[in-house]
Structures are given as structure tokens and as C-alpha cells.
């Protein structure tokens, strides 16, 4: 397999990681902590959206991120012919 092909695979992987980590930081440090005052107008069950993200929402998003990563990477492996046989 050529180096170019490997590089394309690796940079596609890095792009997915970057986007995933951006969302990871946004829901936990962002919505859950730093941006909580900005979101305080949105009511959720007796409190506000920031509290929900801090205690529940971020965990649900983390799950979605990991499964999304696994699914996209396993597909990417096949497209670039580097999957396990």
C-alpha cells in the first residue's frame, strides 16, 4: 500500500477525532459549566439546560460520539483497504 493512501486514511481519521473532541468539550465544559449562565433561560424539569447537560446530557452525547466514531472508522478502514481480514 502506498504512503499517500495511508496519509489520506490518517488525515481522515484525525478530522473525525477533531470534530468529535470539539463536541466532547462543547457539551461538558461548554454547556455543562462555562456556558451554563447563557443557557439558564431554557428550563428543564425544575432547573435549567446546563444542569441537565452536567448531570445527564453530556454522558448521552459521549455515548453517541464513541459509537459514531466506531461506525465511521470501521467504514473508513474498508474504504481505504486497511481493515482486518
Amino acid at each position: 500500500m502506498s504512503d499517500d493512501k495511508n496519509n489520506a486514511y490518517w488525515s481522515a481519521n484525525l478530522r473525525i477525532i477533531m470534530w468529535s473532541l470539539a463536541v466532547w468539550a462543547l457539551v461538558s465544559f461548554g454547556f455543562g459549566i462555562l456556558l451554563r449562565p447563557v443557557l439558564s433561560g431554557i428550563a428543564v424539569g425544575g432547573t435549567d439546560l446546563g444542569f441537565w447537560f452536567a448531570q445527564q446530557g453530556s454522558i448521552i452525547v459521549f455515548l453517541a460520539l464513541i459509537f459514531n466514531y466506531a461506525w465511521r472508522m470501521n467504514k473508513l478502514d474498508c474504504e481505504h483497504g486497511v481493515d482486518e481480514q
Binding site: L21, Q56, S58, F62, L63, A70, N74, D77
Partner: protein, 595 residues
Amino acid sequence: MDQFTINLLFVGASFALYIGIAVWARAGSTSEFYAAGRGVHPVTNGMATAADWMSAASFISMAGLIAFTGYDNSTFLMGWTGGYVLLALLLAPYLRKFGKFTVSEFIGDRFYSKTARLVAVICLIVASTTYVIGQMTGVGVAFGRFLEVSNTAGLLIGACVVFAYAVFGGMKGVTYTQVAQYVVLILAYTIPAIFISLQLTGNPIPGLGLFGTHEASGEPLLAKLDQIVTELGFNEYTSHHGDTFNMVLFTLSLMIGTAGLPHVIMRFFTVPKVSDARWSAGWALVFIALLYITAPAVGAMARLNITEMFWPDGTDQAAVSVETIESAPEYDWMLTWQKTGLLDWEDKNGDGLIQYYNDGSEAMAAMAAANGWAGNELTKFNRDILVLANPEIANLPGWVIGLVAAGGLAAALSTAAGLLLAISSAVSHDLMKGQLTPNISEKGELLSARIAMAVAIVVATYLGLNPPGFAAQTVALAFGLAAASIFPALMMGIFSTRINNHGAVAGMVAGLLVTLIYIFLHKGWFFIPGTNSFTDADPLLGTIKSTSFGAIGAAINFTVAYTVSSLTKELPAEIRQLVESVRVPRGAAAAQADH
């Protein structure tokens, strides 16, 4: 049947199950001992990882931490789950592709340095040993409370059971017992929570009940809780009180630390393929999330239940009387826990009632003076009893209490076994085979792994019986070491082709030393009381507490490693090839066959 017999039945049955698995899953080779023959299904591994990860701290302490602090302690929820995103995206698939047995082995090979491997082994052993002490004391406490045997006897029984499946079964035995332990612990955690959620909100799913309506008052549960705790002078439950910067840093440190803990990482060596490692991290978080989404509900509901027990007619009416506590059956749990010394009350003003309020609040001082209160009369309430006493507080049937006893033990034992396995493989594979006796045969290595495991159990049991005074603080140390040294080294090893042997060693040592010194400055040198120059209430650097320093230690590690590497020689070609090969999944099965 009395409660003692029920508890004995539940704990006895769960232990018999673990021993049964031990007999069935004996390890015959080093590959089975270290990595369960790399034949574990990703969902099975996810479940085992969840039990491996969720310790006595998650099971027993976390809901209590949230209950008495509220929003500010959301850090534990986000930190201890967010680490799995880092693990799944940045470490697990590549380390599985590398296809060896220990975390330190990757660091040693990638940085072509025995020193790097040794530094990693030292971090691993210190972090895992300090962590295991807490698990062993947890086993002793759970036994003491539920089976009315002494802490010592309880701990010895627990140690014998771990010995049976970990020494003979290695990773294979540990994996399948962890699966059984996960089932026990998740049932034990969620069943009482479901009952309580139904009682308070009518919703059978505790995570939804938390944001639902409190049926007795018709208000949202959290609004009701905010109201009742502020009436008693406590901080509002849902609002933020601490320092924001420290909260961010602490959450980040917990995330990086979680991703860098060797006993969790090594679980991903057991699956057959790289793609399985990716799925498996997701499944692990699914099983962890079942508990972590329930925990904040358990915390908030228990806080509401407990407060209402002391003010049965509302906070503007008379408090509960001493006579009621001593005679009414729904207060029986208070008498039971008073015996353990973890819960106590005192009628300070002699009015026959127990007033529970925040006597540190200035706003309450005037009210207390007007009502003739002489201070908070709930004199002791250890946060750790919250989960264990919860079924009794909510008046649930006896079998639920028995289940919780077995669940607490399962959480502590499964984590202890994972940690002991990390320690023994570091000793036999990294120290013996890697450095001292490289020509050791497969059989010899397997024997030395078993001996190392047995010795580790004896040491951990001794430390559990005689916990050093610093035991409670050492979990912060374990996370600090994992975050400041292990995680950055692994990540740079995979994602950088510039970091060389000198850079890695300098980075690890710098991150480690600065973090250790920062912790010692605040907690005392080698945790000896009185030798600290600062406290976490007034830290050295701004608002950064010593428990939040792991993330800064990691940043120091990255910076030093890059600087030193850019000043020294480039990577040799064969190491560059190693990095390239770790980055692509193809060939993982071949790496396995080499062994």
C-alpha cells in the same frame, strides 16, 4: 427470615458464582493470563470494563458526594465518563493493534528505551497500589456492616475469593467474574433507585424521575429540593457555588486520568480485533452510563427523603422527635447505622426534637435564636452510608438490602482484581521478562505472574487491614499520576512521529514530579500530616486545588517532551515504521500470532 440470613444468602450465592467461574476459566498460557487469549467479545469486554472501572467509589460514594453538594459535584459524572471518549478515540484501538500485553511495554518499545518502560512501570505500580487500598478497605466495611463479622475477617474472606479467581484464572478468570459482578452491582444499584423514583415521582426510570414532578407537592422534584434545602440554610442544590476555573480543570483531570489508568486500558487488549476495541469502548460506556445516569437521581432523591424525615410536617413545623426516631419502624435504619458510628444525633437544646439545619449559615442564626435551637442536631452523617442505607430509608423489602450488600462487594472486588492484574503483569512481564530474566520460558513467566499476583494480594490485604492515614487522599494521587505521566506518553507515542526516547522520558518525569510536588505541598510530604505548606482551601496557584492538577501535569509533560525531542535526534526508521503500523488496523491478527 431475618435480615442477616438474607444478606448472607445473597453474598454467599454471589461468591459461589465467582468461585464457579474461577474453576471454569483457568488460564493455561501467558496470553490467556494477560489478555484472556484475545478472544473476548466486545460486548462482554464492555461489561467487564464497566465492572473493572466502577469501584467502591462509584458504587458507594458518588451518589453521596452529589447528594450533599448538588450541581458542583457533577464534575465526577462528566469526568469519569468523558475519559472514555479519550480512551476510545485516542488510545484503545491503537494499543490493541500494537498487540502486546502491558501499557508499559508499549511505552518501552515505542520510545526504544528501558528507562521509559521503567518509569511507566513505577507509575503503574504506585497508581494501582494506592487505588487498591481503598477497594480492600471497602470490602472490609461492607462485610462488617452486612454480615456482622469483623472488618478483618471480612477482608480475609474477600481476599481469598479474589485469590481463587485471579491467581488461577488471570485475565480470563477476572474477565468472566467481572461480567457476573457487573450484573450483580447494576441490579443492586438500580432496583432500589427504581422503587424510590416510583415513590417520589411515579416514574420508574430514575434518570427521568430526577427531572420529573414530585408527586406529593406537585412541583418539579429539583425545584422542591432547592426550596427545602435553602429553607434550612443550605446551598441551593442546582446552582453553582464553587470556582468555575477549578471545576473545569478538575473535570479535565478526571477525564485524562480515567483514560490513563492502566487497569482500564489493558482490558482493551483482550478483544480479537481493532474494530472490536472501538465498539467495546462504546459498550463499556453504555454499561457505565446505566449507573452514572441513575446516580444523580439517587443523590437528589435521597437528599429529599432524608431532609423530609427530619421535618415530616415541613420546615416551618416541629422537627422529628427523639422518641419517634427511637420507636417508629421507618426510623429503624438510623438506629442500625448509629451503631456503626457513621451516623449520630444529639438533642443539644433538650427540647426532645432533632433539628437538622445548616448552623454555619448567618441567615439561620436569627431563626435558630428565635426558636431556641442550639445548633444542628444531626451531628454526624457520613456520605458513604447514603447508597447502602438508601433501601432502608425508603423502607424497601429485605431482599433489596441483601442485594445492595452483594452489589457493594462486587464493585469493590471487581476493581481490586483488575488492579491486581495490572500490578502482577507489570511485575512479571515488564520487570521479570523485560529487564531481569529476559530468557524466562513461557511456563516460567506464567508461574511468576501467578506468584506476583499472590504477593500483590497479600500486600493489598495487609494495606487494607492497616490503611495508611493517607488512604482517602491517594485516589487523587492515582489519577494525578495517570493523567500527568501515562496518558500523555501513550498519546504522543501514537500521534507524533517527532517525540523520541529522550523527550518521552523527560516529559514523563517532569509531569510526574511537578504533579507529585504540587500534591505533597497541599496534602503533606508523603502524606505526613502537618508537613503541607498550603491547603486546598487556599491553594498555591490561584484557585487550582491539588486534586485538579493532573491536567496541568499533562500539559507540562507534553511541553517538555516536544521541547526535548526537537533539540535531540529524530526517530530511527524502524520506530517510525512501528508508529505507522500502529495507526492502521490491518495486521492486528498477525501481531497476535507472533506471541
